[in-house]
């Protein structure tokens, strides 16, 4: 008998395939998605006790198909009576075609008619095989909120007239950007797990990596898919070193590099190197290349900031934005000194969107600190702490300000990635 964890992994791997099989049979996505959830729950109860069926995918398709038919008949009493019976091994598991619709299901869930929050929730349930409760827990909202988001998302897609058929290659190409964005959002939600309440969120990063792996396996030649997977691996590799035991954020320059995940770094570096060598360049690949330069430096001082600066200049051309501008200035300061960074920051502040960005004051604070202007730096850290909407960031920035106010503390050399 398989341990429960392995069964869960298998179920979540099979979830989009079972859903795709049902949609292919003309089941209709809206009902099929609910039925798959029920079949997954039934399997999670039965399989650890009864052992794995010979054809797990067929078992799930059969059970889900029956649930769907019963729901369509609306025969509630019959449904209750059969609830136990259908949860047993079906006598003749349905054959499942070889078609793998994981990619199609991802694209379907990232329908342009949906808000990003709805795309995320629907993707995690329909493709990730997570339950509504698990998603709600990760996002710290009630189950009902996520349940509502998912059912509304499904209705919106139906209303948009796109239908719930299996999307063809054209739709896949068109919506791949949205899929990558959703995976990136899921990853970022789990990026920092710093306290008890946010521990479950760490699982979101792992889930985003799992889904990105599935996407990469199906689109191995797409450089941006590979780039995103690489970026996630190279960022997640630092997870253990990123958070202090008390939950505080540890800046990159102060992290214990021995705690970084060497396997994930090697995989990420190989992925991005391969993508850069044979695919058209894109923002994900450039960001992954920057993360790789950080991860490959044996010490913070050995970081190749010249190369990082050059990559941020490329990124500014490909995908400009306040964060890219700020990060480019940090790299510039590391190459040419904090004064050069501060001058660039003053020039950039003429852009209102940038000056209003909460990271602006954080970068300014770090540069002032490096330039030896302790009082101004302390003030800027406080301003940044007040402006941020992230609790770990606020703690970190307030901590920097306190260190500056206490002359006995060791000189700080934090950098902003």
């Amino acid at each position: 008998m398989r341990p429960a964890g392995a069964i869960e992994d298998l179920l979540r791997e099979l979830a989009p395939r079972v859903l795709g099989a049902l949609v292919r049979r003309g089941g209709g996505f809206e009902a099929a998605e609910d039925a798959v959830q029920e079949a997954l729950l039934a399997a999670a109860t039965r399989w650890p006790a009864d052992g794995l069926p010979e054809n797990p995918a067929g078992w799930l398709v059969t059970v889900a198909w029956r649930r769907m038919a019963e729901a369509a008949r609306g025969d509630a009493s019959r449904r209750r009576r059969e609830a136990t019976a259908t949860a047993r091994e079906p006598r003749d598991p349905e054959p499942v075609q070889d078609e793998d619709d994981t990619l199609a299901m991802l694209v379907l869930c990232c329908h342009p008619a949906l808000t990003a929050a709805s795309q995320v929730a629907l993707t995690l349930r329909a493709v990730g095989g997570l339950t509504t409760a698990e998603i709600a827990r990760a996002f710290l909202v009630p189950d009902a909120t996520i349940g509502q988001r998912i059912s509304r998302a499904k209705k919106s897609i139906t209303a948009a007239g796109g239908g719930f058929g299996v999307p063809g290659p054209e739709a896949v190409a068109e919506r791949l950007g949205a899929v990558l964005h959703v995976l990136y959002l899921v990853f970022n939600e789990g990026y920092v797990a710093s306290s008890g309440a946010s521990l479950h969120r760490a699982e979101l990063s792992a889930e985003a990596i799992r889904l990105a792996r599935q996407l990469h396996a199906r689109l191995p030649d797409d450089g941006e898919v590979a780039g995103l997977l690489a970026l996630m691996l190279l960022t997640d590799a630092r997870r253990r070193a990123r958070t202090a035991p008390d939950g505080g954020l540890i800046p990159l320059a102060e992290q214990d590099r021995g705690r970084w995940d060497a396997g994930a770094i090697a995989e990420g570096v190989a992925l991005v190197s391969d993508a850069l060598a044979r695919a058209p360049i894109g923002p994900n690949q450039v960001q992954a290349a920057i993360a790789a330069l950080h991860d490959e430096a044996p010490t913070a001082d050995a970081t190749d900031w010249r190369q990082i600066l050059a990559l941020y200049e490329v990124l500014s051309g490909l995908a400009p934005g306040p964060m890219v501008t700020l990060n480019r200035i940090v790299a510039l300061a590391m190459v040419e000194g904090p004064e050069a960074g501060l001058a660039a920051l003053s020039a950039a502040a003429e852009e209102p969107a940038l000056a209003a960005h909460h990271r602006f004051h954080a970068v300014r604070a770090h540069l002032l600190e490096q330039a030896g202007e302790a009082d101004a730096a302390e003030d800027a850290y406080h301003r940044a702490a007040r402006a941020t909407l992230s609790l770990p960031e606020r703690r970190y920035l307030e901590g920097r300000a306190i260190r500056l106010a206490q002359p006995t503390a060791s000189p700080a050399d934090g950098i902003v990635e």
Partner: protein, 124 residues
């Protein structure tokens, strides 16, 4: 992002509410009910509650000797008192403001939108 929409009352808004007929009050509750229904339907509502009158509030103090003492009445002596709240999760700060603007108290400048600190954060 999550936002807390705080609904305050002040003497003027309380007076208006108290001057309402039964029908007008019922209409007011129905109006709020529609806001709740819409936010449930859009998947944006996390939780919402109306608060009991400030006169039944208790201010709690733990004294130096460890004893907990309570004082009847609200913490702040201000004219504005918290009357209820919506915790919503929405895509943009603009959307949070749009929801806030639906509250009748917005006509009296009594609605406040506060972003909730996120537990995530960027690596510095």
């Amino acid at each position: 992002m999550k936002y807390l929409i705080l609904i305050h009352s002040n003497p003027a808004s309380r007076e208006i509410w108290e001057s309402f007929s039964e029908e007008q009050k019922a209409e007011g509750f129905t109006y709020y009910g529609r806001i709740v229904d819409d936010l449930v339907a859009s998947g944006e509502l996390v939780v919402t509650h109306a608060l009991a009158d400030p006169s039944v509030a208790k201010t709690v103090t733990v004294r130096e000797d460890g004893a907990t003492v309570t004082t009847d009445g609200p913490f702040a002596e201000a004219k504005e008192q918290l009357a209820g709240f919506f915790l919503v999760e929405c895509e943009t700060p603009e959307r949070a403001v749009e929801i806030a603007a639906r509250m009748p108290e917005a006509h009296f400048g009594l609605i406040e939108v506060r972003p909730i600190l996120d537990l995530g954060g960027m690596e510095m």
